[in-house]
Symmetry: C2
């Protein structure tokens, strides 16, 4: 490892410990000598890392007593509050977002930067620098870039979803899209169905809305129809929030028949469905999604470009009936004034219409298929078994070896600078605590299998 990389490794480790709260504000850092022996690096490497963290304002040096995490004694700062480190639905987001880029993140929900369409993004940024002033400085239209909305209508028409641009509201993320719909439709105490397991942040989002959340078991071919029908009868839910394709975290895709049944049941019980289409572009071939079957009568399609194009641009969308979009648009003005950045929407459009994007996605499908195969084999060698082999995407939902305390494993991994995604955070029922979601693209970039084996061994022996 080069000297520079060593320093960065130390900086990343300290940052992660501060972000995760294992080093609290005002707490003393390990001495230079101690950390040097722990990492097997020279004291000068540690000193260099500490100096840079001091320059960044992350830590303070107090001559004679050592280095301390900043914040505890700064003017205006609140008293030293030790963060609650429950492995709750926020756990993965918090660790993954706060982690240094050099931290290994087999638990995170995005691709490594080198797998993203970077040349097209760089080209689009240069093109933007020559754009009209109003695009670079103005608020843009209330529903977001008309040209991006028109492009979406054309793309969706290829999959038999016919919508007008006025039926689309651009947002700053898929999460904001779901939140806006929830703000419009839900009152505290309402019941909402989600898949079990589901994307952990749906749980955090629905908690903000103070609604009852009930899980529909997710099978290998989509939601459990019997359970869905029973819950509709017994619980009178207002909304069902689901991924039809490459469900997060299971990776399953709904069958055409099931899609039809789900829609018929929802119609019979007056339930609205939010279909989160965020992983659609990862499907190598089109799948049965609810929106085109329904024609956006009771299905609301939401999604974003964060997974395949760029999360940094913050661009998502809602497609629904014109009337609902009109009301959601007013809600967006009131609560954010404008949704997506006009220049970001233009960059998204630029990349999507450039010839390179389709080629990029085709190459990505192949690369991911290979990574899924290799990842499954590596995990299998540790006794970690994928529940299904998804048709696309980067996630493997896996059953962990018997005797493994998954939450404990995730906590121990974090101490070593590895962010994992323990099954419990994905589940309303809590019945997935023996599972974990693995990101095969992150695994391919960082050889974590060796470290995972050590951690598993430790977790088994301590359990």
């Amino acid at each position: 490892m080069r000297e520079k990389n060593r320093t960065e490794t130390v900086i990343a480790a300290v940052r992660t410990r501060i972000a995760s709260g294992s080093l609290a504000r005002g707490e003393r850092l390990p001495s230079i000598r101690r950390l040097a022996s722990q990492h097997g690096f020279s004291p000068s490497t540690i000193a260099e890392a500490y100096d840079r963290l001091v320059a960044e304002g992350m830590i303070h040096a107090r001559p004679g007593s050592g280095y301390f995490v900043a914040g505890g004694t700064l003017a205006g700062a609140a008293p030293n509050t030790k963060r609650d480190h429950a492995v709750d639905p926020f756990w993965v987001s918090r660790q993954a977002l706060e982690a240094d880029p050099s931290i290994m993140q087999p638990g995170c929900g995005w691709l490594p930067e080198s797998w993203m369409p970077l040349p097209a993004l760089r080209h689009a940024l240069r093109a933007m620098s020559r754009e009209e002033g109003v695009l670079l400085t103005g608020y843009g239209p209330a529903r977001g870039s008309l040209s991006l909305r028109q492009l979406l209508t054309r793309r969706w028409a290829e999959d038999q979803l016919h919508v007008a641009p006025e039926q689309i509201l651009l947002t700053s993320s898929g999460t904001q899209a779901v939140d806006l719909v929830c703000r419009l439709m839900l009152s505290p105490g309402d019941t909402v169905l989600v898949d079990d397991p589901c994307y952990f942040n749906f749980r955090a989002l629905l908690a903000v809305h103070r609604v009852r959340v009930i899980g529909v078991p997710c099978l290998a071919d989509g939601p459990d129809l019997d359970a869905f029908a029973r819950l509709l009868r017994q619980e009178a839910p207002r909304l069902y929030l689901t991924n039809s394709g490459l469900q997060n975290p299971v990776g399953c895709t709904i069958t055409l028949h099931k899609a039809h049944e789900i829609l018929s049941l929802a119609k019979a019980h007056g339930v609205t469905i939010i279909e989160d289409d965020i992983f659609a572009d990862f499907a190598p071939r089109p799948f049965a999604s609810l929106a085109p079957l329904d024609g956006l009568n009771r299905v609301i399609r939401i999604g974003s470009f964060s997974k395949t194009l760029s999360a940094s641009l913050r661009c998502g969308y809602i497609a629904a009936s014109s009337e609902m979009i009109e009301r959601l648009g007013d809600l967006l003005i009131a609560t954010g004034f404008a949704g997506v950045s006009p220049v970001a929407a233009e960059i998204v459009k630029h990349v999507l219409t450039g010839g390179s994007y389709r080629r990029h996605m085709e190459a990505l499908h192949c690369r991911l298929a290979q990574a899924r195969k290799e990842g499954a084999a590596q995990l299998g060698s540790l006794g970690i078994k994928p529940v299904i082999m998804p048709e696309g995407g980067f996630s493997l939902w896996c059953e962990m070896p018997a005797g493994c305390d998954v939450t404990d494993l995730a906590r121990n991994a974090l101490e070593e600078g590895i962010v994992l995604a323990p099954g419990a955070v994905f589940s309303v029922s809590g019945e997935t605590s023996r599972f974990m979601r693995f990101n095969v693209a992150q695994m391919a970039e960082n050889n974590i299998i060796g470290q995972l084996a050590v951690l598993l061994g430790r977790s088994a022996s301590s359990g």
Copy 2:
């Protein structure tokens, strides 16, 4: 006027009528001949404009029967719903955001694009195209760019507000910042104080939170202290939402003594203050703001870079106690996953740290001082009187001539492609219906005084 400009004028006028709803979906447009005679343009100009609107999908041509507004007959579109055109708090936002850039907007709350720091923005975009991949594709840290937060702490320290970077949460706008604080602190039925008049979108935002909103009369030197004290006693508000400097729409700046009194009263009654600092950079000299007086104990500072740097980038902030920022950060993850775009935050930082921004702002102060002087003189010639002459910024809050029906005037102006800001939308009490807010920078760019004179004459004669 050149041929191209004529065509664009027609396109803009049709777009505005569609956006405002005065031409509904499915409605027939005026014939080419009729519109040509109305505008005094040639029929070929109108035909060219209609052709371009057809190409954009805004209107349809039906051979033999004319041109129709699109949307009414598209698959999946909702039935033709005629929009309620109440002059409500949404009115100005909706018209101003939906307007074509060529529409004249003396009522809007932003500068013309040519007054914005465009060269610095273009330079920053080019620099971004060479940035690290993770910045261009990743979610970035949960609280937003650390380097922008560090920069803000240094800028604010110059004005004696000392905060740590961890006390700042970057958001996608000032509006989102206020919304997040309201989501954390308010329950339906709570009471919130605002200035009367205040920024109209505060009213729309607070309506979403279903709280009681009561106005504190805004005088020439800030809020009416007696009324503020009485409302604190009688109404037990939870929050007070205000601009201390260059108040929107009045343009007044609070005195140091008043700031101290407001803060003492708020403390005595346990009220939290959201201080919207969005116009701070327009003040040619520092003013007494509440945040540094208080040290962010009960004052929450929010703001954005939309007015002086770029609204397109969508970058705002909240500064508060570390504990509150921690809770707001979780709320932002749950409801939007990330706030500001990392690449947008980097562009903002790039522009703010570039030497040209300070020079740009100095030149802007002079240009605005001149525009305020000229705007006041022009408005005065029509009997429209600014209530005070603000020390900075682009807004003049004016009393309209006796006998002028302000709401009627705003509606008529919209039909002519001019967006005005009628006083009623700014007021909780409704006592400002004889006032209007004028944007002197927009007035300087577009010679609207002549058209305003005609509209005023029409409004007086019809009233």
